[in-house]
Symmetry: C2
Subunit: 212 residues, 2 copies
């Protein structure tokens, strides 16, 4: 029997402009034991991007083979390129007892939820809809029409919060990161993660699970 | 509509010797916004005990009247005295948006669970069964037979952990207290606590709930 505790799959998601990227970066900086899941893609590496660090760069053929093998927790085609979360890599990390962070958009997160029974789903919210608008505007390089379209889509996307376990408002980055850390710490104390022990109700097993 | 967020009912429980008293004391010392629920009892006040601080001291008649009025989250008779958790006091504190800690034995906690749909149930575990034994022995003033009886009962009680939401091993007090703080912080981010907003799926309501 593998006595090592399985790692947590932590899915961090939210509308664009909510700031999930910044939060994840800080979270990973402060918690060296967390690892970020590396996505796979068929797009070409940009300057300085390293295979296996920024992305796993795959050919279309390789990517489609892995789709057929059901080796993605989620995948999507965007502007003619595939992107996806490799299941086997995530599984290996969890199996080794390490926690994995997936930083992912809402569509992706909902697919992950369909494809796995585990996962702690955290929705990052902007401090207010007005602030979200300002953040999208500040990113610039878009026409007023496309800005309005992105804002409306973010506004709609916020309703998907109901599919998540937790919601964290990204008002101040350090406060939001503390909340994520609290969620991760609390999830490790959840009794329903000690499932075997409890279902079996064998005392020795309980003790083994609780005190390993 | 009352926009104030309701406080959390936090039930901290565990076998005797697990150290829930010490942990609660530290938790309350570090978090002045938490309040400890004051129990009611029919036993006589001991030296220095203050009505409304250590206990609400009630006559048997008063206590039984409140049982009839269904004003206890749990109550029990021990060695001829009643003890109980007054529902109205807890309710008032929660209604005002403040969190309440119930430090309570396992039988009491299970009754609270039957009598309320809310509540975060946390089970405090000793670091090991051997350590639990040592702690019970150190308290002294008991015969070997009664020690063994208490130990066996604690050993059995540990199986009730499956009825709780969280389990925290009390190995080091400060680490255990940090875990309790993380659990409280995480529970405040749980989406299922924003129930109205999500069930209604009215966007304005969602935003009102999320951003009040």
């Amino acid at each position: 029997m593998n006595n090592k505790k399985r790692g947590l799959l932590i899915v961090i998601s939210g509308p664009s402009g909510a700031g999930k990227g910044t939060i994840c970066k800080e979270l990973l900086k402060n918690n060296k034991d967390l690892s970020l899941s590396v996505s796979a893609t068929t797009r070409c590496p940009r300057n300085g991007e390293i295979d296996g660090v920024n992305y796993y760069f795959l050919t279309r053929e390789e990517f489609e083979k892995r789709i057929d093998e059901n080796d993605f927790l989620e995948n999507a085609e965007v502007y003619g390129n595939y992107y996806g979360t490799p299941k086997s890599n995530v599984e290996e990390t969890l199996e080794n007892g390490n926690d994995v962070i997936l930083e992912i958009d809402i569509q992706g997160a909902l697919k992950v939820k369909e494809n796995t029974e585990e996962g702690v789903f955290i929705f990052i919210l902007p401090p207010s809809m007005e602030e979200l608008k300002q953040r999208i505007i500040k990113r610039g390089s878009e026409t007023p029409e496309s800005l309005m379209k992105r804002f409306k889509s973010a506004y709609k996307e916020i309703n998907f919060v109901s599919k998540y376990n937790y919601a964290v408002v990204n008002d101040k980055v350090d406060v939001a990161v503390e909340k994520l850390e609290a969620i991760i710490s609390a999830e490790k104390c959840r009794v329903d993660r000690l499932k075997h022990s409890i279902l079996d109700s064998k005392e020795d097993l309980i003790h083994e699970q609780l005190y390993d």
